[in-house]
């Protein structure tokens, strides 16, 4: 219809020169329709408000319903509006929203589709693509509905009953069998004084009542202040396990963090992967306790992506500098290569409690385990979910440090 303005100009000239009222009228009708239709089409998208509502944090396997409310603020109707919104491609199975609607003056319509959390990640939802136009095809307007909003799909969390992790931190909330970790705040009885007992251990009130010196019996307890480091340096993984291995490492880290938070311990997290939101690599979160902290850890684990960053053994000494003495450092990595074991051994010598969790199956893991044992590092192989379940129910065997008793129930 590019010819229409030229024709209208010709009509106008004819009308003026020949003073023909009917041609004037035709010019008015055609130019009015043309101009009004173009103005209308250009204005219609500006008068739209689009609001997207959905639960933006879901766990894997859950589904979130996305409601898109489109409101026409204008007093003019919108004859047609095409809305197109494609869910993130990684979430295959989610329905693509393709809808054509008409909106009356001040009318509101709600479009609906669902996103299935099939894979952990940090996904942008939206923006929707809008297109509208006039009734005659003179003009068409296109635009975006609004800014995209993120959807976080948490990694899968496997609930653990207990974990055979050792601790070197006294004064915790976890009961221990080692008298060395006796906690003076956890008094569970008295006994007769024996020579050599410290004076500050005497229970003076009971001694006065009984007429003999009585010494407080205290329950040993440890704390399991932990920091989990997930190795997402892709060259560390063998080529065939590069994707599944890193994902499984994240699941293991999330499950351990969940378990430890449930145990009211402080948990930190670090990784040499790439965080999409902050664009950070080799990041760490200091240990904290509480569910809100767990959700924070899970969100970071949802966002992090493997990449060719720094290797764990290079970064680990720097990442653990600020950790308190006795903190358990769980390194979730592909396999216990010599460099990683050596790095963990240095941590042990620095007063930390390093634990190696190998993700990839290894034919000679016993060799790695023995190497770690000599370096003072606990080593476990968790190649799959079955191995994880086996690990949590087996007897706690410690090579270094002190095992703690599982929580009752």
């Amino acid at each position: 219809m590019a010819e229409l303005p030229i024709v209208l100009l010709f009509f106008l000239i004819v009308a003026i020169l020949l003073r023909m009222d009917i041609v004037f009228y035709l010019v008015y009708v055609l130019s009015g329709s043309y101009g009004l239709a173009r103005w209308w089409a250009g204005r219609s998208l500006k008068q739209l408000t689009v609001e997207r509502r959905f639960v933006d944090h879901i766990f894997m396997g859950e589904t979130t319903a996305v409601d898109i409310c489109i409101r026409n603020r204008s007093i003019l109707p919108i004859p047609w509006l095409h809305y197109d919104e494609t869910p993130p491609t990684q979430l295959s199975g989610s329905t693509r929203l393709l809808q054509a609607i008409a909106l009356g003056p001040k009318e509101q319509a709600t479009l609906h589709y669902e996103i299935a959390g099939r894979q952990r990640g940090f996904y942008p939802v939206g923006p929707g693509r809008l297109s509208s136009g006039d009734l005659f095809g003179f003009a068409e307007a296109r635009g975006s509905a609004d800014e995209h909003r993120p959807l976080v799909v948490y990694p899968r969390v496997i609930p653990l009953v207990h974990a055979p992790l050792s601790s070197r931190s006294p004064y915790g909330t976890i009961a221990s069998r080692q008298p060395i970790f006796a906690d003076p705040t956890r008094v569970n009885g008295v006994r007769n004084y024996q020579p050599g007992d410290p004076i500050r251990g005497i229970d003076w009130k009971t001694s006065a009542r009984s007429g003999q010196l009585q010494v407080k019996k205290t329950e040993p307890a440890v704390s399991l202040s932990t920091s989990i480091f997930v190795d997402l340096h892709t060259p560390a993984y063998s080529r065939s396990f590069r994707y599944s291995g890193t994902e499984w490492a994240i699941v293991v880290a999330a499950s351990l963090a969940n378990y430890l938070i449930e145990e009211r311990q402080v948990v930190g997290l670090g990784s040499n992967g790439h965080d999409e939101l902050t664009d950070a690599t080799c990041w760490s979160i200091p240990p904290r306790s509480g569910r809100s902290h767990l959700m924070k850890l899970l969100e970071w684990l949802a966002r992090v992506q493997a990449g060719e960053t720094r290797s764990l053994h290079e970064w680990l000494p720097q990442a653990t500098v600020s950790l308190a003495w006795g903190t358990t450092v769980i390194a979730v990595t592909a396999s216990g290569d010599e460099a990683t074991c050596a790095a963990l051994g240095r941590l042990y010598r620095a007063g930390l409690n390093p634990v190696l969790v190998a993700i990839e199956p290894h034919a000679h893991f016993a060799v790695i385990k023995e190497r770690c044992r000599r370096l003072g590092v606990s080593a476990f192989e968790m190649a799959d979910e079955a191995a994880l379940r086996r690990w949590q129910i087996r007897e706690a065997v410690t090579y270094v440090g002190v095992p703690y008793a599982p929580r009752a129930g």
């Binding site: 004819v14 023909m20 009917i22 035709l26 009708v29 009004l36 609607i101």
Partner: protein, 552 residues
């Protein structure tokens, strides 16, 4: 209302068609209105040339437009697929030309007399009068426009292959295997329609503008263009307005078709309110704009008009001055060249040859010269045959030959055939009577004829029976019931019994006796001949009564 074909269920073949779109009466009416409005163009030119406004042209154009729309819509149906072709279209053209000719005869020229017929035979060009050519051109223009526009809008419908592609859900089933390549996209079809609409609209406005311009000569002999004070005919005004408003509405229809087809192929869920409200909204929009335009300043009341008029006058004057300067320079150059190369003072024009009288034809040439009407007769015969063939083909294609009109035409044909047969029979009888009279005269003159008469009298009872039968057949033939050559005597007897039911017994008896005498080998006795004679007499009496009337 147009709905997108349902793709959710497995349905019959008919559900693959976009029936709702193809039979939208509102759109078809708009196309017919658009096409009929186009007739104002030729009528305006005609009025501009000083002829009277043809009152019949708009109604006739409306009929032609509806005709084109309806036939094209019918041809779009799968059941009419085998009728799509040049023959059908030419049949329509012949019908339209016939209607145009009849209209002109009825309204302007009167029915042609024998003198006119003779003139057409000698000079066939006289058949094509100016009025007829005008009517034919206008109706053909309108019809062609209606056909083209309807075809375009039919092409905008969702095609069965698109529906089939959408419904294919089989695993590994490529949707593209269902699709038929579309030679022109829907957007291009809509563009084509828009271009056609705008172009013809431009022509309409130009035609209207031409009626405003009066070209006169000044006393100095120069041509002068001025404006006529007369306005346009109300029919022309209405046509112009209807043309552009209907075109806008059709553009809206086309836009909807393009959008819905695009959405359909992209699997977009279409809210039914779009389609339900589309036509209402577009009608309201165009109506409001048209109403508001009425309130705007028109013609001389427009503030812009004097300024632009002054500007154009200035431009035209500048152009004229430039043209004058160039003309003067050219004239100066020509004179200079003439002065340089000398002027011969004008060569004498060769004397025109004296026209020679036409050669006088010889007597043989005059004798062998064909009659002047022969060429015209051959031409008209060919025209009538071709036009008749096309018309009959068209009627058969449309099924109109089975309608009331077709029944009437068939009745006319049978009636004409019966009349022709009666005339033929009467002629044969007259000829036979004349021959009989001649023979009788000869018999009287020639004694040998008596011998021949005696030889023709039946000698044997077998011959007598055959003679009686043949005599009865001749009588029945004279009474309008001849015996066709392919009918056996027994079949013919049934025909006679249906016509003269009261003589059924005698007909049967005589026929059986004849068959016996004609085909059997045994002897036929005299008694049989006597019985047959009495039967023949009764039958002859029965045949002479009018059919259906019993013995009184």
């Amino acid at each position: 209302m147009h709905h997108v074909p349902d793709r959710s269920r497995d349905q019959s073949f008919a559900d693959y068609r976009d029936e709702a779109w193809q039979v939208s009466l509102f759109r078809l009416a708009l196309i017919a209105l658009l096409a009929a409005s186009l007739a104002a163009g030729p009528a305006l030119i005609r009025a501009g040339l000083g002829f009277a406004w043809p009152v019949y042209v708009i109604p006739a154009a409306a009929i032609a437009g509806v005709f084109g729309v309806v036939t094209t819509s019918l041809l779009g149906r799968p059941a009419w697929r085998d009728r799509r072709g040049m023959t059908f279209r030419l049949g329509e053209v012949v019908l339209l030309l016939t209607v145009a000719r009849l209209l002109v005869w009825v309204l302007y020229e009167g029915w042609p007399g024998p003198g006119a017929l003779r003139a057409w035979l000698v000079h066939p060009g006289l058949f094509f009068t100016g009025e007829f050519l005008f009517a034919a051109f206008t109706l053909m223009l309108v019809w062609g426009f209606a056909v083209g526009t309807t075809a375009d809008f039919l092409d905008l419908a969702i095609r069965p292959d698109e529906v089939a592609a959408q419904r294919s859900r089989a695993w590994g089933d490529s949707k593209s295997q269902w699709r038929v390549a579309m030679p022109v996209s829907r957007s291009e079809i809509l563009q084509r329609f828009a271009l056609r609409w705008i172009s013809f609209g431009l022509l309409l406005v130009v035609c209207a503008a031409l009626t405003r311009i009066a070209i006169t000569t000044t006393p100095a002999g120069l041509l002068r263009a001025s404006l006529r004070g007369l306005g346009l005919q109300p029919e022309a005004l209405a046509s112009l307005v209807c043309y552009f408003l209907a075109g806008l509405l059709l553009m809206s229809h086309g836009r909807l078709a393009v959008l819905r087809a695009r959405w359909f192929s992209q699997d977009v869920e279409i809210n039914s309110t779009i389609i339900n409200q589309w036509h209402r909204t577009s009608l309201l929009f165009v109506g409001l704009v048209a109403l508001v335009a009425l309130l705007l300043p028109l013609g001389r009341t427009s503030w812009l008009a004097p300024a632009i008029e002054w500007l154009f006058a200035l431009v035209i004057r500048v152009i004229m001055v430039i043209a004058l300067i160039f003309g003067a320079l050219f004239e100066l150059l020509a004179r200079l060249l003439r002065a340089l190369f000398g002027e011969s003072g004008g060569e004498l024009r060769p004397a025109e040859p004296i026209p020679m009288p036409p050669p006088i034809p010889s007597q043989e040439e005059v004798a062998s010269r064909l009659p002047p009407w022969l060429g015209g007769v051959v031409l008209w015969l060919v025209v009538v045959l071709v036009a008749g063939f096309l018309l009959v083909s068209f009627l058969q294609s449309t099924g109109l030959h089975r309608s009331r009109l077709g029944g009437w035409l068939l009745h006319m044909r049978l009636r004409w055939r019966a009349r022709r047969e009666r005339y033929g029979l009467a002629l044969t009888q007259q000829v036979n009577k004349a021959i009989g009279r001649l023979r009788r005269v000869r018999r009287r003159v020639s004694p040998a004829s008596r011998t021949r008469e005696g030889m023709r009298t039946p000698a044997t009872p077998r011959d007598k029976v055959r003679q009686y039968y043949l005599s009865a057949v001749q009588e029945a033939t004279e009474r309008g019931k001849p015996r066709p050559s392919h009918r056996t005597p027994l079949e013919y007897a049934r025909d006679l019994a249906e016509t003269w039911p009261e003589a059924q017994t005698d007909v049967t008896g005589l026929t059986e006796a004849f068959v016996d005498a004609r085909y059997s080998e045994h002897e036929v006795d005299e008694q049989c001949a006597t019985t047959t004679a009495s039967t023949w007499r009764r039958l002859m009496q029965g045949l002479r009564r009018p059919p259906g009337r019993g013995a009184e």
